[in-house]
């Protein structure tokens, strides 16, 4: 039986209409509904199914984020993960982290937790980088399979299907490995109330980036965040002649 590590991230809920801060420094996050990144939910579900199939003996969920991320971790525990690791960084630090720094921390956790399999979402819907799983595999020097459509674990290897342009690609991959999941691999279950309550009793280890040997000093400087330009309102004109003259005035014809 294998030990699975699964990464989860707290992001602004997918249904929320994103607003940019007036000073252009980022998006509004205070008092905005947050939830687990949908692709992370799918990764957790896949891990829990491995446990239900008696392939996994233990699932360790980890998150890197502010204290509110504890709730996201609890959701993962309520869905069926056994333990948690919470890497504490504050919101400002998290916002400045690059996928490389995240990958270094993820790799370190996979090592310390002696994981045979690291499951992640293919991307987080806030940054949309889609780089973390691949970089983590590189740092660990493990095989990787990304954007999975299906996963079948065979003990010391896994058979996976990946969605590619025009169809599915089937691969065989040796474990330990890093796997990232796509949308259609499963339909994640809900964390139910009794399970959320029980999850409070599950163990969560708190660590700091320094404990993982990772420097979180910002390496990325965000210059400006802006709303997509709003389309200017149209105008109704009397007739074709006016239309032509207006277009000429505007320098369009």
């Amino acid at each position: 039986m294998v030990r699975v590590a699964v990464g989860v991230k707290r992001v602004i809920d997918y249904a929320v209409k994103i607003r940019v801060k007036p000073d252009g420094s980022g998006v509004v996050k205070d008092s905005v509904k947050h939830s687990m990144n949908p692709f992370c939910e799918i990764a957790v579900e896949e891990a829990v199914r491995l446990k239900e199939k008696k392939i996994a003996k233990e699932i360790v969920a980890f998150t890197i984020g502010p204290k509110q991320s504890a709730e996201t971790l609890r959701t993962a525990l309520a869905m069926g993960c056994d333990r948690g690791v919470h890497v504490n960084v504050d919101q400002a630090q998290l916002d400045a982290l690059t996928p490389l720094q995240i990958s270094k921390m993820a790799a370190k956790i996979a090592e310390t937790e002696a994981a045979d399999l690291l499951l992640m979402g293919k991307l987080a819907i806030d940054g949309d980088y889609g780089q973390t799983a691949a970089m983590t595999a590189a740092i660990l020097d493990w095989p990787q399979a990304t954007n999975l459509y299906s996963l079948q674990h065979n003990g010391d290897s896994a058979t996976v299907e990946r969605e590619i342009d025009g169809g599915l690609e089937t691969n065989e991959i040796k474990t330990p490995a890093v796997l990232s999941v796509d949308l259609r691999i499963n339909q994640p279950r809900y964390a139910t109330l009794p399970n959320i309550m029980k999850a409070k009793k599950k163990k969560v280890k708190a660590v700091k980036p320094a404990d993982l040997g990772v420097d979180v000093a910002p390496t990325l400087n965000v210059i400006k965040v802006a709303e997509p330009p709003v389309r200017a309102a149209g105008e109704i004109v009397e007739d074709v002649d006016t239309l032509i003259s207006k277009l000429k005035d505007a320098g369009r014809i």
Partner: protein
């Protein structure tokens, strides 16, 4: 003034007791009772109770949003409405989430929630599907509530795990063909057998879950031999299992709304019930029924807060996007008036609901008038909110696919069941008046020997005159609890409380015992009491928000001002109707009704086409 004016009345037996009365307290720290004496009883209202620390707030929000998302993602409200049933997948979700037994202790398989926590969770169904609210609400708020709050330990251990998991559904069986508001008149009988068990026979109607339940709380008459040898029926509560045999039910009733919730007749034919399945003692059935109904009423208010919020979101979104006459319709005064009022009323309704839930969590003895006010208030404000939402949305609001006309159909029942609003109003008015009547009793006694008791009487008269003139008011009492931004409102509400007290005492002095036959008056008194409570709740809530770090402070002041302005009009409007002229108006209406009922046809006017002048 006699203390017992109401107890002997026939009306009480028929109506007011039926709605859930308890004995009238001598002195109460209830806010609503206090109003009738012109007093501000701050205990359960000022400052607005804060029950949680930040961690607990976060936790409740977490449970709320996890359940909201799962409910929203699983439930098909319109399909439920068309099919008249719940999808098995939805039932399973409700079970998985523990939503069939929110208040059952954790060790018996429930979520162990307080009233406030349950109220918050109830908002979900209120917003997403009122049919589901009733499906799970009737089960736990009344169905097995008697076991939860009054059952023996054995009963709890035997039944609560089964019902908390939703494996078995519970139903509350009070109503019969000849027993509606007059709850003590049940005809179903349970006769004691030689072996100590009871044999039950009778039939119940309109029982929520009647066709799907396995556990029933049933109210029946137990004949008991008196000392003088005569037999007297004593209303008694029993827990009946379908498995006892002899329990059957009718077809699901076709009805206006909450269609996924089963409503059916339930029959009991020679059902043998072991003695240990009695709740309380023989003769305590009425008390059991009232405790259950009183304790469940706040849940309706909380549920309907969710409904109001859902409607407000729909109406606001529509008004913000719909263009007519080249402008977004929310720019028009007629629409602004609707949206703002809908929100202000929701704000008030929510303020009231959580005061009641809080008072219950604090084991307050007399919360039943507040609970009744909350039920009346929420069901009527939600109805108004839905009506206005449909109006804002125009033809779109009338269309099935929008889901708002379903809300309107679903909502209508909330003014009828668990005590009709009319009956609850009479209860609020009459119990409040009786309470103040008790305070007047010493004065009435003094009046019998005016000379000896002159000082008491003179003081009373002076007090009353001062209050009538407005020099001694509840204003100062109220203002001390209210944010300065709302002092003008607190001033007016305080003055209205004093006017209300004077008006209450006046009509009590005028009608004395006969007040029980003066429903026109009592209804106005109740109306004013409900609004005074709501306005005070709003003052308290908005004041607390001013001290909260992230609340929308200015907006809450606006909401409060908007609500109280309207509310004061209603209060004074109601109190204005207690004059001599109004009395002759009531008499006219009584006479007209008499004639309608006794004429060949109740429609009395000659048809306009038949009005020949020549």
């Amino acid at each position: 003034m006699k203390r017992v004016i109401l107890q002997k009345s026939n009306f009480l037996k028929q109506g007011v007791r039926a709605a859930g009365s308890k004995p009238i307290p001598d002195r109460s720290d209830s806010f609503v009772f206090g109003l009738f004496n012109g007093e501000i009883n701050p205990k359960n209202i000022f400052p607005y109770p804060s029950v949680f620390n930040q961690e607990q707030v976060d936790e409740l929000n977490e449970l709320f949003s996890a359940s909201f998302d799962a409910f929203d993602g699983t439930n098909e409200a319109l399909e439920n409405d068309l099919r008249g049933d719940l999808d098995p997948e939805m039932v399973q979700m409700l079970r998985d989430f523990g939503l069939f037994g929110m208040q059952v202790p954790e060790e018996l398989g429930g979520l162990g929630m307080s009233n406030v926590q349950m109220a918050r969770m109830s908002e979900i169904g209120g917003e997403l599907d009122l049919g589901v609210s009733i499906y799970i609400g009737a089960h736990q708020s009344i169905g097995f509530k008697a076991i939860l709050i009054l059952g023996t330990q054995e009963m709890k251990e035997k039944y609560l795990p089964l019902v908390a998991s939703g494996e078995k559904i519970a139903a509350f069986c009070l109503t019969e063909p000849s027993t509606g508001s007059d709850a003590s008149s049940v005809q179903t009988r349970a006769v004691k057998q030689e072996d100590g068990s009871y044999l039950m026979n009778g039939g119940k109607i309109w029982i929520t879950g009647g066709g799907i339940a396995d556990i029933f709380t049933v109210f029946a008459q137990v004949p008991v031999q008196q000392e003088d040898g005569t037999i007297k029926d004593k209303m008694t509560a029993f827990i009946v299992e379908r498995d006892f045999g002899g329990v059957t039910h009718g077809a699901p009733e076709k009805k206006m709304g909450i269609k996924c919730s089963n409503t059916a007749e339930v029959y009991f034919d020679d059902v043998r019930i072991p003695a240990e399945n009695m709740i309380g003692e023989v003769g305590e059935g009425f008390k059991v029924a009232m405790e259950v109904l009183n304790s469940g009423r706040y849940g309706m208010g909380a549920t309907l807060n969710g409904t109001q919020k859902g409607l407000i979101k729909k109406a606001t979104e529509f008004a913000a996007n719909r263009t007519q006459f080249r402008d977004k319709i929310y720019k028009f005064g007629a629409i602004q008036e609707k949206l703002a009022r809908m929100h202000a009323e929701q704000y008030a309704s929510e303020a009231v609901s959580y005061l009641v839930a809080n008072a219950m969590d604090h084991k307050t003895e007399n919360y039943h008038l507040e609970a009744a006010c909350g039920k009346i208030f929420a069901s009527e404000r939600a109805w108004h909110c839905c009506d206005e939402t449909i109006q804002v949305m125009g033809g779109m609001g009338y269309m099935f696919e929008q889901g708002v006309e379903k809300v309107m159909r679903d909502l209508r029942i909330f003014r009828i069941f668990e005590g009709t609003n009319d009956i609850l109003r009479l209860m609020v008015g009459l119990q409040g008046l009786q309470y103040t009547g008790q305070q007047l009793a010493p004065i009435a006694k003094a009046a019998k020997s005016p000379i000896a008791n002159a000082p008491t009487l003179i003081k009373f008269k002076m007090d009353q005159r001062a209050k009538e003139k407005g020099s001694k008011t509840a204003v100062n009492d109220l203002k001390q609890y209210v944010d300065p931004a709302l002092h003008p409102e607190a001033q007016k509400v305080g003055e209205a409380i004093t006017r209300f007290e004077v008006a209450s005492k006046k009509i009590l002095q005028k009608f004395n015992k006969d007040i029980i036959n003066q429903q026109f008056h009592v209804k106005r008194i109740a109306e004013a009491a409900i609004e005074l409570f709501a306005s005070s709740a709003v003052l308290s809530r908005a004041t607390a928000a001013q001290k909260h770090p992230t609340a929308n402070k200015e907006e809450e002041i606006l909401l409060a001002k908007t609500y109280i302005f309207d509310s004061l009009k209603k209060i004074h409007g109601a109190l204005d109707q207690l004059t001599e002229q109004d009395e002759s108006h009531w008499k006219n209406m009584a006479e007209l009704t008499e004639k309608m009922v006794n004429a060949d046809s109740p429609v009395l006017g000659a048809h306009p086409t038949e009005l020949i002048h020549k």
